[in-house]
């Protein structure tokens, strides 16, 4: 637990509050084989905030976010050192089953990836694999999650139809709903709108603002305007390093590092 100055964009007043950490990354290094993709990352991520990670292509944004729920384990030949504490538990600890971590920490991917099943089954999937069989609980959760992802009204008449019939933006919200069904603590999003049209993007952005009330959100985005619009804090990655991490307003309006400034103002990337 640390005390930090938070600049929440909603109430443009600076408020001194006590923040709870969900993640505390300490001296994280990561190699893909010989390629040193993350270099001594130190980041503290607050509860119930939107933390944006920006940076040019290949800087390690996806790698970092995939490490947070250990999806990185799926890539063969990855080595790490340093530690990441999730709610004060080391996620690399043997006793911390990845299945538990991933249940607590939901993830939304760049391309919407619903299962080739019905809308209903997509959401019920997570419940079923965790042994929840009670029909009523499942039904309720499906509705609640779809509502939570602002999708219920659009699909309520066809939740047993294939998810592939939905538009890209709807599919992405379905993927969010699929996370919500397990009532996660944190939601990780890796460029969740980069494959979507402007209207869908807007909806998802609104949804993220909504979700922030209940969940801690970490979002990777290549769209700086988006980061500026929706996030409370922003980390700027470059070549596997965190160049700057601060309140979003500060990053965008008075960055401490010139590289951040260059990037923000479109001089590269």
């Amino acid at each position: 637990m640390v005390l930090t100055a938070v600049n929440s964009k909603e109430n443009n007043q600076k408020v001194q509050t006590e923040n709870v950490l969900v993640y505390n990354t300490k001296g994280l290094n990561l190699w893909y084989g010989d390629h040193h993709a993350l270099k001594n990352i130190n980041l503290k991520i607050n509860e119930k905030e939107v933390t944006a990670i920006i940076g040019p292509s290949g800087c390690g944004k996806s790698t970092y976010i995939k490490t947070l729920n250990r999806m990185i384990d799926l890539v063969p030949g990855v080595k790490t050192n340093g530690s990441i504490e999730y709610r004060e538990r080391d996620i690399f600890n043997k006793d911390f089953f990845v299945e538990e971590l991933r249940t607590r920490v939901g993830m939304v991917f760049q391309k919407p990836n619903p299962f080739p099943k019905s809308i209903y089954e997509n959401i019920a999937f997570g419940l079923k694999i965790h042994g929840i069989k009670n029909k009523q609980i499942i039904n309720e959760t499906v509705e609640k999650s779809l509502r939570g992802a602002a999708l219920w009204e659009e699909v309520k008449d066809r939740i047993h139809e294939p998810a592939y019939g939905l538009s890209g933006g709807q599919q992405q919200r379905l993927c969010i709903a699929r996370c919500l069904a397990l009532e996660p603590d944190v939601i990780l999003m890796d460029e969740p709108t980069s494959a979507l049209d402007p209207v869908s993007t807007l909806k998802i952005e609104e949804l993220i603002q909504e979700l922030k009330q209940q969940y801690s959100i970490i979002i990777v985005t290549h769209n700086m305007q988006q980061a500026a619009r929706i996030s409370d804090r922003t980390a700027f990655f470059l070549n596997g390093e965190v160049v700057e991490y601060d309140v979003t307003d500060t990053i965008f309006n008075s960055p401490a590092d010139s590289r951040t400034d260059d990037y923000i103002s479109g001089r590269f990337g």
Binding site: V20, E100, I132, N134, I137, T141, L182
Partner: protein, 328 residues
Amino acid sequence: MPFIGVLGLKGAIGLKTKEKELSPVQELLEKKYNGGFLNRREKIIPIILFFMAAVSVLTTLGIVLTLIFETITFFGDVSVVEFFTATEWYPFSETEAVYGIWPLVLGTLKITLIASLFAVPIGLAVALYLSEYAGVRTRKIMKPILEVLAGVPTIVYGFFALTFVTPVLRDLFPSIELFNAISPGIVVGIMIIPTIVSLSEDALSSVPEPVRHGALAIGSTKWETASKVIFPAALSGILASIVLGISRAIGETMIVSIAAGSTPSAALDLTSSLQTMTSYIVQVTTGDAGFGTTIYYSIYAVGFTLFVFTLAMNALAQFISKRFREEY
């Protein structure tokens, strides 16, 4: 450990929203966290699957052992030197049996050669047509048709060779005998065309579309694109398909049993009767050879030779795909 789980959750939900109750889902999940995620199934399943994968290794082992024991018995009667150097295969003579594998190998090679000469150009032409020229519709129709061609039982092909192709050939070239290498060779070729087409077509169409577009965008015709860019790029897959086709031709049994005759011949001539390794095995297993005789054991020695041939072809295929592997 489970204790930490609970703590963690309290951390997650507790502090700020103290009044909040656990939802049914949370409650159930909580139980699971406490119960731990240790799952015996997760450990056992890979082991079971490993044993399934081991079956194919056991099969190879079975084949090798089956063949090797009887082959050793065979070489108790017949000298290895004779087997590899004698140019005659005449096991049925009671007085002067000769076991020289060469005529059978030659028979196999003749059939394989003719089949490949026939099937490779046609197969590649069809593959190129389908992948570079034909529309999606044609491809969608042709592929299943080729699969039917590939699925036609080989006895059917055998009679097709004997009762259709041979007479046609004999009308054209009267010097061709009833049993010859050409007719079954061609028909074995027809049989392997689908194999070559289907795998080459896969290889050609897996060359990424952008590469094709790159060539077309600088003004090449389809043929220039296909022959100078796509074909070389797909070479490893194409060669592999040819090797696979050839190894099917080597192993083909019924067509040659029916249409190539059963005269092991060391002559190079293609118009007369011959015998292949495979058709010899069928001849003996359906024939008169007494149990425990040298002839009986000879089929294992021939089978072993055949097996070595297929191994060699496979090694060739592996070599080719390593040597010519393209990355796009």
